[in-house]
Amino acid sequence: MDVEFKHIGKRFGAVQALKDINLRAISGSIHGLIGENGAGKSTLMKILTGYQSRSEGAIFIDGSRVELKSPEEAADLGIGMLYQEPMDFPSLTVLDNFSLGCPPQSESHLRRSLLELSTRFAFHLVPEQMVELLTVGERQQIELLRLIHCKTRILILDEPTTGISPAQKEALFPVLKQLTEEGMTILLVSHKLEEVAALCNEVTVLRHGRITHHTKAPFHFPELLHAMFGSIPEHDDKEAPRDTGDVVLSFHTVEAEGERLGLHGCTLNVRAGEIIGLAGLDGAGQSTLLRLAAGLTFPEQGDVTLFGSVLPRNSSASHIAQRQQTAFLPADRLEEALFHDISLSEHFSLKEHNPPFLQSGKKSCRQAEKDIATFSIKGKAEDMAKDLSGGNQQRLLLALLDPESRLVLLENPTRGLDIRSGQWVWQYLRNELPPDTAILFSSPELDEILHYSNRILVFHDGEIVLDSDVHNTNHDAVAAAMTGVQ
């Protein structure tokens, strides 16, 4: 089905989020929608699903005008969206999540469809498992399968590759192409140009809520980058290796539960100043390792030693880790690291060590505004954390990070961030933190790992299968290790 937006505008109070958007996506094609964080891509798509209302303009499907007042109406028309942040029910099972929103069917039929679809996409999903035990990527997989199962004919994908591995990406892309051959219209929201180039027939660029560019394949990258950012961000050069010092973190034959397969026989020493990239398929054990080091989960066997002292196996571990100036920045920033309904200035006040009894609104606002300017957060001191875009949430987290941190653990630090924000995050981590700070980060982007780390650990099914200096390995070797090829 063809989708046409005509003069779409959206205001949030005084803010004009979208202005005069005209766009046409043709049946059987993949239409890319690119732009930096906060450009209005997600808002435009939420309008198409009826999740948000539009302030002006009209939407036409196959030439006839549609109202799209609710997601129910949109779903009846065959419009479905994979949201960037998982829109699911963590305490229900995979099967329940899969079935909610689809027309009623018997449980055995649903189970069969789920298993068939996950085989087709090379996903590993267990119908009875609780969704809260899964990674963000796996949760998105369920949602994607559900949309396909629900006979969606206009499929909106908001950053679909954020949580999935390169291997799964390779399985996903042909399927998306196949779906369009069957007549599906796909709208792909992304900020990764490679993906867009590999998949899309047409691309529209949004910047500050307006369309700045529209083109058909083949794409000319500098042109797209210019439309996205105004000026083209330069890819910073590979940075100099850093001096390493004493061991700050060590794992000794650690066995732990977590993610898909937990972590097994993990022995590891991390030295001050090292930047270690944790590569692996989604859920292969990287997050478990980071959470163990942060004292958020405990090993079943073996010891985690942080700055010379063994972390206890109870909830005081994370306090001890924090007292040792260890910081953990999770991938799900809003859920695990920030408070939805607490303002930015209050976030800054909360981190003060010896807060005064009375909270001075004015003083903390002034201080917060200074930090907001330093970290160029797009938001005001009195804004709520939930109103920030993904990139600005990450900036806020870095602003809250103790600049004297000795060990920083990051779970997918550039998740959902555009190129410029991502570069900014790394520039901060490398240059603004003390040079003897050890940094451990996981990322589904192999390029990010190869570019920024000094040392690479590759995880496969809960085990570290490769531990190498970045100069002694290469893209193909790491990719092979990730998929279990020795």
Binding site: P71, E72, A74, A75, F89, S99, L100
Partner: protein
Amino acid sequence: MIADLPVSVLIASVLAASAPLIIIALGETLTEKSGVINLSLDGVVLFSAMAAFAAAKETGSLGAGFLAGGCAGMITGLIVGYLSIYLHLSQVAVGFALSLLCRDLAYFLGNPYSRIQGPTLLAARLPFHDTLPSFLQNILSQPLTVPAALTLIALLWYFFNATRSGLALRSVGENPAAAFARGLNPNKVQMLAVLAGSFLVGLGGAAYSLSLKPGWGRPQGAEGIGWIALALVIFGGWHPLRVALGAMLFAFLQVSGISLQNIFPSIPAQVFQTAPFPLMIFTLIFMHYSTRKSRISTKPANRLQRRLGLLFMSRAPKSLGKSYQQE
């Protein structure tokens, strides 16, 4: 068993005493599963008990009494639902205020019906009563509220775990925004759950004034039951079966308190009357901790464990008590 009470009589009295409490607690479970807390329970129980007795007295019909009780409950549900779901007022504040209002209103409006005789739902005898051994005769001659309450446990469990509407209701209680994104109408689902739940609470109230503690007065005898029901829902982990078992445990404590009083006449009667409340709290805390480990490890290894899990495992709906506003 306890004192000179035969086991069969004890079981019979526990069943009879727990039936109204089960109905009330399950009504609240239904409401809370959708994410709305109805704190007005205690006042609503009294209000519907009064309404039921008055209606039964005026019409002479028990059916009309129960219907009036249920409707009285539903009206309060309508108020709680409208104010908290559509006007986004605090569920806690609305519930509390309504609880006090309903209690006073019940005493005020019920004054003319105080301490008078009215229709009472008596224990029904099964058609084959005489052929049964006396042990079963004792247990099985119960008022209709008992089989109704027991059926309700199974019905509610089936509704939550096997029906589409039950899944929709649970999903709204977990994440209303996601439910909305999938084409459900969270406000409507919550409103229906509040209405159905408060209707059950009203029926439970009616079961007090028409069966368990027949008549109306001040005190009626159902005071405090609403709070106990709220506690049962929480400690029962929002699981119909566990909530009902908790209600039976409370009834057991009440019944055994009465017979203990006969054995120890020197201890003041008030001790035995109030003992069930603190004892209940201790037992529930004990239960909570003893089942904690099994609730934490949520990886079902096989089909049997999954079935058992469905039977017993459950916990708070994630969006409980939060007001949902569409973007």
